[in-house]
């Protein structure tokens, strides 16, 4: 009777549903491996022209956050989507790929510089003014763990900075009595901490994340959480001096403290993301701010302590 209209309807439903399942223009769904395809050298020029004003010539940060540890994929998504003060689509097409490749390459050089901070393992001098070195000397595992920690915490710094920045946005939104932004920035705090998979806490239909997706302490670890096993490795190495082992032990405890405060932060953020009025979130925002301050202190302490190891000497 009405077979033709029903058949047409079914066809159109399948087409629209199929498109929706595919959603080809989703910035985060684009499976681009820019590192393989962009040209970092061309990207350097473009970066200087379009990005350096906000992120610094070496990506170390300014108006915008430190982007030295950001992957090509994350950079590409950010370039396309923009966010905060950063306009979307500053560079596009192949140029975006080149810039992303340049951003991707940024972490290599500075991280190497950081890991070179402790004296090289080959020099046989005793550690400066600490206890007597254990006779066997530190194992390669500890030396590598310390170097890895340098790189890890350096890359994580940009995420800590983004976290601090968004805590500021959250407080601003509270002052402006803007419940939309209060919820939105609370979602961001949680997603910066947890990384992928990101959640749509404010239920605006988009799970967004200004962070790099690695996060600080999520289900897959993160820059903070991943530090604990590395510190534990040093603390358990019988070849490492007692002073360094104690240092590593304290740092492992600091990591646990920071992870605990990050969990508190996420809990607060979840509640903030569900408030009906901005003012309802005031207490939770204060507590979230305290948690972030604790995380920043702990993180700074961990990074500073890395320089004090006599381990590799």
């Amino acid at each position: 009777m009405i077979g033709r209209p029903l058949a047409l309807m079914l066809l159109v439903v399948l087409v629209v549903g199929g498109l929706a399942a595919w959603h080809p223009f989703s910035p985060s769904a684009a499976p681009v491996t820019a590192g393989a395809s962009g040209d970092a050298a061309r990207g350097a020029t473009l970066f200087a022209a379009s990005c350096a004003a906000c992120h610094g010539a070496d990506g170390g940060g300014g108006v915008g956050p430190d982007i030295a540890g950001v992957s090509a994929e994350a950079a590409l998504a950010k370039i396309a989507a923009g966010g905060g003060a950063m306009p979307a689509g500053l560079v596009t097409g192949p140029e975006a790929l080149d810039v992303a490749a340049f951003v991707d390459a940024l972490d290599a050089a500075p991280v190497a510089a950081t890991t070179a901070e402790p004296p090289p393992a080959t020099t046989a001098e005793p550690p400066p003014a600490t206890t007597v070195p254990a006779p066997t000397g530190p194992s390669e595992v500890s030396v590598k763990a310390l170097a890895d920690l340098g790189g890890l915490l350096r890359r994580g710094q940009s995420q800590v900075d983004v976290l601090v920045e968004h805590t500021g946005f959250l407080e601003l939104a509270l002052r402006e009595d803007n419940v939309f932004n209060v919820r939105f920035h609370a979602e961001h705090l949680s997603n910066i901490v947890h990384g992928e998979p990101v959640r749509d806490l404010d239920t605006n239909g988009e799970a967004s994340n200004p962070g790099d997706g690695v996060g600080l302490a999520g289900s897959e670890g993160g820059y903070v959480a991943d530090a604990e096993p590395l510190f534990a490795e040093i603390a358990a190495d019988p070849g490492v001096s007692t002073a360094d082992r104690e240092r590593a032990d304290r740092s492992a405890a600091t990591v646990r403290f920071a992870v605990d405060r990050l969990a508190t932060l996420v809990e607060r953020a979840e509640r903030i993301a569900a408030v009906a009025a901005a003012a309802d979130a005031a207490d939770q925002i204060r507590l979230a701010g305290e948690a972030v301050a604790d995380v920043v202190t702990a993180y700074e302490g961990m990074r500073a302590s890395l320089r004090t190891y006599g381990l590799a000497a």
């Binding site: 009777m1 009405i2 033709r4 209209p5 029903l6 047409l8 309807m9 079914l10 066809l11 159109v12 439903v13 629209v16 549903g17 498109l19 929706a20 399942a21 595919w22 959603h23 080809p24 223009f25 989703s26 910035p27 769904a29 684009a30 499976p31 681009v32 395809s37 590409l76 396309a80 989507a81 923009g82 979307a88 689509g89 596009t92 097409g93 192949p94 975006a96 790929l97 419940v179 939309f180 749509d200 239920t203 605006n204 239909g205 988009e206 799970a207």
Partner: protein
Amino acid sequence: MAHVPLLDIASAYADLMTVVFSAPIVAKVWFATAAVALAVVQVSTAARMWGRLRGVVPLSDAGAKRAHRWSGRIALLLTLPVVFHCVAILGFQTTDARVAVHSVAGSFFYGAFAAKILIIREHRYPAWALPVFGGAVAALLALLWITSGLWYFGEFGIGL
């Protein structure tokens, strides 16, 4: 590489929408709201064409027909940016009940619309078919708006 121009499209869309509105989602809400307002015109002029609501809709038969056609065309145009954002950028999602209902209803909307147009064009279907499919299109649009525009205004207030 094929993905890069696609990324451009998403950010070009966001740029275009934020010329007037504070965010793409706000643009979407207002386009949808305008389409729903026109859907009210659609339903009342359709009723008038079927000889109902003579007292409420002060239009001649020809006037009602013209109003129905043009409000329908404009409403359909207004849904295009909305469906682009929903379907091509956000995609089918089932985060919670509201989003899931919205996604399913959205998938059916153009299907129901296409069927309704076919029924008008080919004069060989039972008399109930047109009001049923026309009503379904209007009902789906209302459901879509309740699970998006109305929800948005309730959560975040009415603003540009």
